[in-house]
Point group: C2
Chain length 287, copies 2
């Protein structure tokens, strides 16, 4: 970062020379941080999800807050979504259970054109994942708060319509009061029986006890969970040992400095030139 | 099949009306079959791999033998190859081990452009898998007996060159005397340390004890095996319980009647019109 912005001085928390700082690059931050930074022109998140910033009452609302849209992270998320959906589509989660019992047992092969994948969220992550899924021959349905149109994707603003169509549901939503707990018993009941759920957004999107009940009843065949509330997932969580759950430690998409630093530099330079930074958060929407 | 060829009469083994039969559709066949079929104009395999037919000394060599190239199967194989390679690339095999221990432990994310996938075999299966892998940003290297050129693929006829470049090696070869046992200790030793092997061709391509030794020493990180010698994999095989092996029951790519029947019908109609059938086996090459 220093090499990419050689004209700038950098201060690392907690040694903040508050008055001299006009741009804050924030991954996680302790309360009290913003009171020490009176001259900000930009708060640049180091993550795509900004709920901890938006939820901080000390965050100055008159300062632009920007999300980090790292193309490497968007690509990584699509890789992860494809990895989990192909694992489900090719029944690999089932064959792993059979392997543990040394059982040679086949399920019928399904064509991707016989599957519909439902994406909750059609922002940068959802749109790119949709493209990759369409290229493999899956039907893709997408839900967003505002009406959208994406080539080849059945877009809807009616979440119940998406759930009823989708054998697999992938959550890529920002966490807001409207989306908290969206993966719940009512949602699972609307899906076709025997489907799968992928949560790569935030842990609080999912009601864990509802998921466990849906897996135990066979309403869902498998769940791929990368995010939890709280993190790290505590050792006593029933999710670790559940045969219907694949747990990964919030690694679906990590920042890559090679692709994220140029995006941060771009926003810093826009602010220096007096231009509006990119990917600003809409506080009324919460992301 | 009857509906697709309404003019034809069908005989199911063992009730063969030998003299009337000019086309044999063969999945698996008992010895003695061909002695009862003196008037064949075509032996159409129901599989892509024809080693059990080629190895049958009773197979009439003057009758054209055709492989079944089912586009649905080619697509299914690419799905399986992608599923396993993304599982490896995103470290999901590692996270499953961590899940069994309820451990929250991350590995570093790798860009696909930092990986090279080596494909052994650049026929219909290899070429299509190469396209899909390139679309995801992987470097792709391919080995074939005869020189080939495929857009974006580093093609070679030197298997050692491919092994030295490839963090992941995928076997998609026909089984011939030249390829039997190609996945052996010498091959694994030439690969960069910590790579993975995917065998979706035939069990006899792999030397099992060499694989286990390479996994146990850490030379290989993981193996994805769909094919075995013999099949089904016997319950006493050490592969079932090895933590570095994913076992699937020869399901990487199954025939789909919706895509395979039109290909069989095409060859039957070509023979009826006196034209050469497609995808003929070259007996000197063994496939």
């Amino acid at each position: 970062m220093h090499a990419a912005l050689p004209q700038d001085r950098f201060f690392a928390w907690p040694e903040l020379n508050g008055g001299a700082i006009d741009i804050a690059l924030v991954a996680t931050h302790p309360r009290g941080t913003f009171a020490r930074l009176p001259n900000l022109k930009l708060v640049q998140s180091m993550w795509m999800g900004v709920e901890t910033l938006v939820d901080d009452p000390e965050l100055p609302r008159h300062v632009p807050l920007a999300r980090l849209i790292d193309p490497g992270m968007v690509h990584a998320m699509a890789e992860t979504v494809l990895a989990h959906l192909l694992d489900w589509h090719r029944h690999h989660y089932y064959y792993r259970r059979m392997q543990r019992e040394a059982r040679w047992s086949r399920l019928e092969q399904v064509l991707p054109s016989d599957r519909t994948v439902g994406l909750l969220g059609l922002g940068e992550l959802g749109s790119y994942a949709a493209e990759r899924l369409l290229a493999l021959g899956f039907n893709v349905c997408g839900w967003s708060r505002r009406p959208k149109a994406l080539p080849g994707v059945k877009c809807t603003t009616d979440v119940d319509e998406l759930l009823a169509r989708s054998q697999a549901v992938v959550c890529l939503l920002p966490l807001t009061p409207q989306t908290r707990g969206i993966l719940n018993a009512r949602a699972f009941a609307r899906m076709p029986r025997g489907g799968c759920v992928v949560n790569v957004a935030r842990g609080a999107h999912l009601v864990v006890q509802d998921l466990v009940a849906a897996l135990d009843s066979g309403q869902l065949a498998h769940a791929y969970l990368d995010v939890f509330d709280p993190e790290p997932l505590p050792p006593e969580s029933p999710l670790w040992a559940h045969p219907g759950v694949t747990v990964t430690p919030h690694i679906a998409a990590l920042n890559d400095p090679r692709t994220s630093i140029p995006k941060i530099v771009e926003n810093v330079e826009r602010v220096r030139r007096g231009e509006a930074p990119r990917h600003l958060v809409d506080f009324s929407a919460g992301y």
